[in-house]
């Protein structure tokens, strides 16, 4: 079943939803990356919750004008307008009052949502039969998705990607180094406005597939996931788009296999699974990578200290050191050095002695800063410098 779903064999509606969710995932991943890089990820929460009053008002207006109130385009237009108003309120509250951006986001989010709920209940007291589609905007309602809806998604996703492509230099610059962007003459306010506008389009388009509460996940999670895999802002955008698209595709396909379950949450959880895998296993920034790096470092320190102890005839008490050195064939289980161990130990002691001479000498000041107790001195000094230093090591003295 799942294989069929992934290969788009499960029927018209399932295919539409899967492709639509994939496109949405790509657009949201790309748009959300800049938001995340600018450290304004939760503004998307305010934007998405602020769409609700617009949807309701658009419905009322369309019905009042004699229509059915079901035109997706009209509803989304209303959603976009009220989301834009919400965004302006967040901006105004942040700039004109002493409230922080987090308080402004929370205030706009909740008040606009509350107003939207009021309008929904007003609609309920009107002719009840027509409003049955509006609550689907909360968590997404893919059951009755039409081809025109999928086309709308495709066009919107293409528009988002085109805009990002056109504006990629200023967007990346503002995300990566806002100070430099300002100094270079870009207007950060306008770039932020463009970024928010793109996020707004994605949010409005995503209302149908995942609903307003969960679109935030599609905007934030792929971007965070992508951040684990690269440090370059242009690559983060691409990876986020890919991750978002795959989450949308796989999530929608999975939910087609279990039709009673809502699509939006499954897409979000698939995305979260990718995030969790990246958090744990990505090379470089992942948890496993940090643990491995730590172990490697620990091993080097223990080996070094163990060899120095051997060279100076001191017993090794630390169990981990003994275990590591035994595994490397440098020490016997009773703590006596093997011949390999004796060679390595005297090498380590020589290295340490050379370093201490270098650090005490002003003329080697640059090399001395590189001492970290682990790196061999041959990495930093040439052979003739080392010969010169070796001359200064005291020869064994005769005890009289």
């Amino acid at each position: 079943m799942l294989a069929d779903a992934l290969l788009l064999q499960l029927g018209y509606n399932a295919t539409l939803v899967t492709l639509g969710a994939c496109l949405l995932g790509i657009a949201a991943g790309v748009a959300g990356t800049f938001l995340f890089l600018r450290k304004r990820a939760l503004v998307s929460d305010a934007i998405s919750h602020a769409t609700l009053p617009g949807v309701g008002i658009a419905f009322i207006v369309m019905v009042a004008l004699g229509g059915e109130g079901r035109s997706l385009f009209g509803l989304l237009l209303g959603a976009g307008i009220s989301a834009a108003v919400g965004l302006l309120c967040v901006h105004w509250l942040t700039i004109r009052t002493r409230l922080g951006e987090d308080a402004a986001i929370g205030a706009v989010l909740s008040v606009f949502f509350g107003l939207g709920v009021v309008i929904l209940t007003i609609i309920q007291t009107m002719n009840a039969g027509q409003q049955a589609g509006l609550e689907g905007f909360l968590l997404g309602s893919t059951a009755g998705m039409l081809r025109s809806d999928a086309v709308l998604l495709a066009v919107a996703a293409a528009a988002v990607l085109a805009l990002v492509l056109i504006l990629r230099r200023p967007l990346e610059l503002a995300a990566f180094d806002p100070g430099y962007a300002e100094a270079a003459g870009w207007s950060l306010g306008r770039i932020d406005l463009a970024m928010m506008g793109i996020v707004l389009v994605v949010t409005v388009v995503g209302l149908k597939v995942v609903g307003l509460i969960l679109i935030v996940a599609l905007l934030i999670v792929p971007a965070v996931t992508a951040r684990f895999w690269t440090d370059r802002s242009d690559r983060v955008v691409v990876i986020a788009g890919v991750v978002g698209g795959v989450s949308g595709y796989a999530g929608a396909a999975t939910s087609a296999v279990a039709p009673a379950l809502p699509t939006g949450p499954i897409i979000v959880l698939v995305g979260f699974a990718f995030f969790a895998l990246s958090l744990l296993f990505s090379p470089g920034r992942g948890v496993m990578a940090s643990v491995l790096t730590h172990w490697r470092y620990q091993r080097r320190v223990h080996m070094r200290q163990g060899l120095l102890a051997l060279a100076q005839g001191q017993p090794i008490y630390e169990a981990l050191t003994r275990r590591l050195m035994h595994r490397a064939g440098l020490i016997r289980p009773d703590g006596v050095a093997t011949s390999d161990g004796q060679a390595a130990a005297s090498k380590a002691l020589l290295d340490e002695t050379r370093w201490s001479i270098v650090r005490a000498d002003q003329s080697f000041a640059a090399a001395a800063t590189r001492y970290d107790g682990l790196t061999p001195i041959e990495d930093y000094l040439t052979q003739d410098q080392l010969t010169e230093i070796d001359h200064r090591i005291a020869a064994p003295q005769v005890v009289t």
Partner: protein
């Protein structure tokens, strides 16, 4: 006014006031600590907490719901902190990842378990049903001193009043350390105040307010109560005690005007039916915030 008011409107209004004030009080500290969006996160994770508690116990009982929600809030805070530290991700994004995933999980659990016989559906979870918390046994103002009638009060009212009392007690006991830790965390730590447990305690208290309010107004509106009355109060004064008092006043005002407008407003303009009380309360708190933002004496930003 009169008999129907006591039966139909008084309990919801009182519950609304308790909800609003119970959320606004800890909201003051969340706002000052720039943790306003923790309130957003808590409101979103209350749903999965309650669903898990329901699935584990099989019944919708206050105690297990409270535990479930408090547990979910603690889990969310720990997860957010873990993701922030392990992944070196900024706080807002970490919050977004955690609470959306938990909310999605909660919705999925809700949809695929058999909750049709209890009032645990997603819409109810989102915007509650304040208007339905009526006191059928009341016959008028005299019922307030009638023991038998009082025994039939909607259970949400004493529950919410108890939650409010617990929150007031917490704030009363920890007023000084909490204020110190809010305004100058390093100094508070230097004084020996355990700021980390105190912060966690504040989050748990907020979660208690959120879950107690859940039944009445749903989870999303709770954010409005966490943020808007304290934010409006912030612009009325520079003193913490005064701010808390203003926020309680604004919260109660929003609750009363919201409920009245939702219940009686449509009648006044000739329509029938009523609109969502919870939504109207949130809207009124927004209106109060807007008025404070354009007219409050301390509204100006410092830059």
């Amino acid at each position: 006014m009169g008999a129907e008011f006591v039966a139909l409107s008084l309990p919801p209004i009182l519950i609304g006031i308790c909800v609003a004030v119970a959320c606004a009080l800890p909201g003051n500290f969340l706002l000052l600590r720039r943790q306003a969006l923790i309130g957003d996160a808590i409101s979103h994770v209350v749903l999965p907490g309650i669903v898990v508690a329901f699935l584990l116990t099989g019944i919708v009982a206050t105690g297990s719901m409270l535990l479930g929600a408090a547990g979910a809030a603690v889990l969310a805070v720990i997860a957010i902190e873990a993701i922030r530290r392990l992944g070196r991700i900024e706080a807002g994004a970490a919050m977004g990842v955690v609470f959306t995933a938990m909310f999605a999980g909660g919705v999925l659990l809700l949809e695929q378990s058999d909750t049709s016989n209890v009032h645990l559906d997603v819409e109810h979870a989102l915007f509650g049903n304040l208007e339905s918390l009526i006191w059928l046994d009341a016959v008028g103002w005299a019922s307030l001193i009638d023991r038998q009638a009082l025994a039939a009060l909607p259970v949400e009212l004493p529950r919410m009043a108890a939650a409010l009392a617990v929150i007031c007690l917490f704030l009363f006991l920890f007023w000084r350390p909490l204020s110190l830790a809010t305004f100058d965390e390093d100094y508070a730590q230097g004084m020996g105040i355990a700021t980390a447990p105190l912060g966690l305690g504040l989050v748990i208290i907020s979660a208690i307010a959120a879950v107690a309010a859940f039944d009445a107004v749903g989870s999303i509106i709770v954010i409005a109560m966490f943020i808007c009355p304290p934010a409006a109060a912030r612009m009325m004064t520079n003193r913490l005690g005064h701010q808390v008092a203003w926020s309680a006043g604004f919260a109660a005002l929003a609750a009363v005007t919201g409920y009245v407008l939702a219940g009686y407003g449509p009648l006044w303009i000739g329509a029938n039916g009523s609109v969502s009380a919870a939504g109207m309360i949130a809207t009124m708190s927004g209106v109060i915030l807007a008025i404070a933002a354009v007219a409050g004496p301390y509204r100006a930003s410092s830059t």
